[in-house]
Homo-oligomer: 196 residues x 2
DNA sequence: GTCTATAAATGGATAGAC
DNA sequence: GTCTATCCATTTATAGAC
């Protein structure tokens, strides 16, 4: 039952989030204010409260939006037959996703916004993405919590080093194949880890 | 030439930094104010400016102090004959160091304080620690920028996952031996990577 | 739905008396 | 060196007119 009213409302919410993302990218995740967001969408700050209950609510919507985008890219990936190829392609996609937006990386993966905790609804989106990763690993024959945790540490470690020490560069994310060779040689039950 | 005057001055600076660390641990790296620090040391906020030129100057001193502490722990490590043993011990030390203080981890290793850049002097301390790591790897027979970068990504990845997703736990940092086995099997030129 | 006006608070930082 | 007083900017958020 999305009548015109609620449709327009949702559209304005999107505009606000887009403006917030733009400011977050330019000035850091926590470096923007409601006034600035309002100005960017042609409003005054108080009007934002029609669309979001608080600044944290905006953060929460951004968090969910970020994970939905990640899920979408996961879903849009080419269907590769070899599960190991899928794992490699997924890792590259993830690293591209992370380094293209430092603010998003911090909001989604690091506890940098004081006091912000994603709502259960937003957190569910994040969980879903992790669940997909688990199944890709499983299809590749890699099972168990510790193997999954080692994988997330390795790949997210590349990402975090990259954006923390050389934003915009490729010094760490360029090591993804080397990292995956290392990981697969160790975690893959049987033979051929090498596919490029 | 440290007369009583400057000695006392330095002592007060230390007190201020200790108070700032305490607040940062309790309320997040960016979650404390000059007023709170001042109160913690029995002063009013303006008096802090006798000891530090700005809040960023306090961050800078904390940054240098954090890395000096890390360097000190590095220096205090038992002298193990096997370079691979030294590497393993160093990794465990580093992970303990990181997880015992989330605020310090964020300040030293992640770009979470908007606008803060360490001064060249403070940055030099950080560089020195990294240089030590480079030499430990080299003694183990591991050379080259990419091997070093892969190592930092792997170990810091474990640390960051731990403090971001399960602060206080051991789910990721407990994988350090598994991670090092994996790393050494891949990067060590010759045979035995396994020592425990 | 958007505005003006403003609350109510907080922030870092400075001036100048003591 | 420490204080009071205060500046000045800024913040999130609310009340109520239009």
């Amino acid at each position: 039952m999305p009548d015109r009213r609620t449709e327009r409302h949702e559209q304005t919410r999107e505009e606000i989030l887009t403006a917030a993302w733009g400011l977050a990218r330019g000035q850091g995740v926590t470096g923007w204010t409601l006034r600035e967001v309002a100005q960017a969408v042609g409003m005054r700050a108080p009007s934002l409260y029609v669309y979001f209950a608080s600044k944290d609510a905006i953060y929460d919507a951004m968090f969910a939006q970020g994970y939905r985008e990640l899920a979408a890219r996961l879903a849009a990936m080419p269907e590769l037959d070899d599960p190991v190829d899928r794992l490699r392609a997924g890792a590259r996609m993830f690293l591209d996703f992370v380094v293209e937006d430092i603010a998003r990386h911090q909001l989604l993966f690091l506890p940098v916004v004081p006091g912000f905790e994603p709502s259960s609804g937003s957190y569910a989106v994040a969980e879903q993405v992790l669940e997909e990763l688990r199944s890709v690993l499983l299809e590749a024959g890699i099972d168990g919590q510790s193997s999954l945790d080692l994988y997330t540490a390795l790949i997210s470690g590349l990402a975090t080093q990259q954006v923390s020490n050389e934003p915009g560069g490729t010094r760490w994310i360029g090591l993804v194949d080397q990292a995956l060779d290392m990981y697969l040689a160790s975690e893959l039950p049987a033979s051929d880890a090498r596919h490029r």
